[in-house]
Symmetry: D2
Subunit: 369 residues, 4 copies
């Protein structure tokens, strides 16, 4: 007899784990299937900068969703630490989004008008962080854009979900899905499970399941290459950001530096060229990095959708099936709100209508947001 679950999740990255946690908290009998180990791949590769402003820049539904997700982190961190004993290492300090040119300043103007953003002159920015490059013209300071340690977030969600009753199956790739009966049948190499509802949260590898489940939605990898260095020299409290590159200071003195954007590259290892480019960019933001010792380097594949908006919602033709994939550069940031929204949908609760529309899996093009 197949073991039966209320809900089954495919994918043990940060989105799947957040979803498992949110469902288990509501006493849903949930299983999560991961082909390798949980919390690896893109989730592990992320820097953990919760850059709602830095990354998204302009107001709208997506920004609103991101801000809501970001604002859940402090409470969530306490909640899962209480359950699991694991600290997400949430670190405040904010982000300084550096401007080197008039174009940089102009492109930041819309963001700068938000209450949560303060424009700092060159002198003010250097007073805050004396080690940043003297070539800047100024910087937008976003105090709310905090950071977490993604591997800790994943561990904390996984352990909390387990302690709340979720079953997490590692090294268990799903090889077949049968939706013909009332309960969905899910097969791994050697076992068969059934579930009332199924959530696909496999990051860039979700395309395969969209296909299997009759939808022509593709996901594209955008490879990001990163490195980290040990800072024993200088004070750096805030994350530095410019044109999708960032330097994130960890509590233990490590600086996490990223990232390239290489669309269409499925290879999960960094190249000399990619790491060289990130090094150069980092030195242009924080010249002192050139004197620092290299810790390590790595890469991850961000899951990008055709219109750069994640798929969060139900299968258009089978409402037992849900998707939570395509979070691109924002998986860590969006994990709390995504997990919570999927949990509400599974339980038949009402969710924010604007969000539901914006992230819906539709047959035709969505309006880009």
């Amino acid at each position: 007899m197949a073991t039966h679950y209320d809900a089954a999740i495919i994918g043990g990255g940060i989105i799947g784990l957040s979803t498992a946690y949110h469902l288990a908290k509501k006493n849903v009998k949930v299983a999560l299937f991961e082909s390798g180990k949980v919390g690896k791949k893109a989730s592990q590769a992320a820097a953990g900068m919760l850059g709602a402003h830095a990354e998204l820049e302009k107001p709208g539904v997506f920004f609103d969703f991101a801000r809501a997700s970001q604002s859940r982190y402090p409470t969530l961190a306490e909640e899962v630490k209480e359950i699991s004993g694991i600290d997400m290492n949430l670190k405040t300090g904010g982000i300084l989004k550096l401007a080197y040119s008039k174009e940089d300043i102009e492109s930041g103007n819309q963001m700068n008008r938000l209450d949560s953003v303060v424009w700092k002159s060159k002198e003010e920015a250097l007073a805050m962080e004396p080690s940043i490059s003297e070539s800047i013209l100024g910087a937008s300071f976003i105090e709310d854009d905090i950071q977490v340690e993604p591997t800790k977030v994943c561990k904390a969600f996984a352990k909390s979900a387990r302690l709340l009753g979720a079953d997490i199956y590692e090294y268990t790739p799903i090889t077949a899905i049968d939706t013909d009966s009332a309960a969905i049948t899910i097969k791994s190499q050697n076992e068969t499970f059934s579930a009332d509802q199924l959530i696909v949260a496999s990051g860039v590898w979700s395309g395969h399941f969209f296909q299997q489940l009759g939808l022509e939605k593709k996901l594209y990898p955008v490879k990001g290459e990163c490195l980290s260095v040990w800072n024993e020299d200088i004070a750096l409290e805030r994350t530095l950001y410019h044109e999708h590159c960032y330097i994130v200071p960890r509590k233990n003195g490590r600086l996490v530096i990223g990232a390239t954007m290489k669309p269409g590259d499925w290879d999960e290892e960094p190249t000399l060229g990619g790491i060289g480019a990130v090094m150069k960019k980092a030195a242009s933001m924080l010249p002192a990095v050139t004197r620092m010792k290299i810790d390590t380097f790595w890469a991850g594949l961000r899951p990008e959708t055709e219109d750069s908006t994640p798929y969060i919602g139900k299968h258009p033709n089978d409402n037992r099936i849900l998707f939570a994939a395509g979070h691109y550069r924002n998986g860590i940031l969006l994990a709390p709100a995504t997990g919570s929204m999927i949990s509400d949908l599974v339980l038949g609760k009402k969710v924010n209508q604007e969000w539901e529309d914006a992230f819906a899996i539709k047959d035709k093009e969505r309006q880009v947001i």
Copy 2:
């Protein structure tokens, strides 16, 4: 338009790579699809001991096939080195299969009667390898059981196949196979290919494809944990073997030591208990290992079938589809003969009838050999 191939191989371990090489050599237009990088997983984890006698012990069809495969290595090594410049690091020296008890001696008697095996008394064995344990009663010496470096064998096959025209796609998991048309359709995440014939060679992960292709054949992982040490002290020319454990001396002074057998364990990392057990066994064969420095440790999943015999041959109901999987502990040993046999089947050539029968994928039980 889908790119078309004469033959497509799923799986870039040593079996898939040997098959790709043998087909490319015959001018077959061949593609190999690997979900990660070629030559990893079980192929990389292997020690490379070509232990036709040590592992198989008794004569029969399987032993015959293994000996045939083993005997191809020297020529094959030269051939691919010529093409690719890569050396398989074939090392002679043979294997000493140690006997510690009367039971060990008795169980080796059948093997010892073979021309290729010579029984050595304790004194003779210690004269050959003065560092082995004084607790032995004697040893079977098998001069033909040589060794190669599996990662080099894989690299050599891969590069040679490429140079002979094969297309090798890494990071390309196959997500769907359609056998309804004359040409088989093979889909990856983002591309579609077609092929006249399809070979499944995905090791323990082949079960999934058997299932998809309508066959109820399962593959089981048997996890093996290994470690290596640096030998700067003692002379050791021959591989030592006892009860599925071995110490393989590499040319560069590294000793490769393995392996546990943990059936049903899909986890690809070694545990403290497994590595501890291998260390203990190694010390009982070669006491000097306790003084050596540890290099590293790892694990691999050997693909085991229900009757411990690999599947090499055609789909019983669709002769465009072939399988080469389930080589258990003997993937490196059997790669040459397997690649050659599959190549012959693809080209419609006659193959050894006994082998074809022994390794056939049948609906009912095969006679265990």
Copy 3:
């Protein structure tokens, strides 16, 4: 002109760093010279168990000194975190000293009579830590024997000392010492320094400086081999201890396991035999470790003196020269009290007379304590 210091320290392990910190706090102009990087070697190899009871067992001057040092840690941790921002990761929970035999129980009786120690029956011990071996007869529970992370302690001392004005010279081996003038001259490869007072704190490498400074005190290495594993399975709050072996649970789920004792071995890398022995011992205390994943392994050289008591005090014939070396298994534990005592001696303050006598560098044998 040689740069002049009030006090110069040779050696950047935990003892030298604690001394630098305590001196800098008192506004002494201090330099520390380290031939490599600070906080490495034996200091980095230590598990950080502050086992005043577990290691010392019987009351006396040494135990008294150890308890005094241990009790400084909580305040010290806050103090240096305030200055440096670095957390020593002090973790409470205490130590369970396991007893497997009547001999174990008897040898613990003297310790068990202390107020700080509570004897727990087998049932009580298993109720506290359900995963420990069922073979125990009981355990001594020492709540005060807490732990820190040695690398963090070293980093925190080093950064705090620097911020308080100390100069820390890494990669600066001292090649000559000249005590003929009023100020002591200290030469590195390419620079010359002078100092009013000199402190030798080079661990097992201090023997060389004793010799150079006219004293026939030798230091012996006692090599300790360790490993760590990842615990994702079981709850373990307390450090487990038996016959100089221990399992220390870190906050992040890592268990640090040690250690062998190999006197006279100067080699700083672990051997297969040493790691195998530690694994076996760990499994006898906590059977679940056999299922855990190995993180890494390493070794360190503990600095042992002829009478197993550290040298902390002045040169018998030259009171400008001080020694703080030979802390054997207890460097982390004794660092606060040692640094403080040396600081007092440098400043001409009165120190505890019993301690001064016990750790004095005398020509004749000291009374073993």
Copy 4:
């Protein structure tokens, strides 16, 4: 009683090991003392390019010595392989010294007139190595500038010396030298040895021994940062060289790339800035490296003298003491001739007078060569 040797060597880098080998071959009873492990530090960091021409450029005594040393490698490699079984992995192919400007061409003119050097036009160079940068104007091709693997050379010398009777003491820093008696007394931490002759070969750390032995010769570190990548794409047979940077292709597909030159830096770890600079330089020689996967990175300290010429010869005031140090960028290249020359001096044989003069340790300035 102190163990007595005919000759004692301090330093187990490539120079000390070559000297030990050459002395042991002549039946001299020799000991080598190394503070850590043999064959590490600068010897391990080297790429192994035997660039007599590429590095030295102009004829003269030094060039002559370098060419003599280089020409010994093929015979030496066979000789030590015969003894030790270890292959130095000598690889032919030669060096292409790239010219990007008229200045490059002019500065190479003197070298190009040598019989061993052939000027290649841009077209000819690209025909030889199609992957090199199209920005070159041409290249000097030096067929004799071969390569070896430095770690293998060290292992081969060490094992051969041992097998010929040398005693090699690792983890044995020398803490005192006494030259007052007829036999020189050498002390380590815990043992005393005596020797008729003493050879100092401690690389950049030799300055200390010069000082102790009454000579005011200093050695300066010139830090070099390197990295290696895996080449699976392109053919590259020859070492590429430009302005002290190089790309050395190993037999196994690894490209070794170096190196920065940072005078006065004693820190043995690479920085982000250093590795970034080497990456950039590599891409300017071989654009395809940007697509390659990084293997690892490291640094070493080259031992530089005041006049950039090594010290090879006797102490001016005590002919029982010899030095072989300060080989800067050329330690691997010069090891055979240096070991042989020191061996001859120890045995009282005549050596090439020009070389003896050029490398002599004199009180006054040597004529720069």
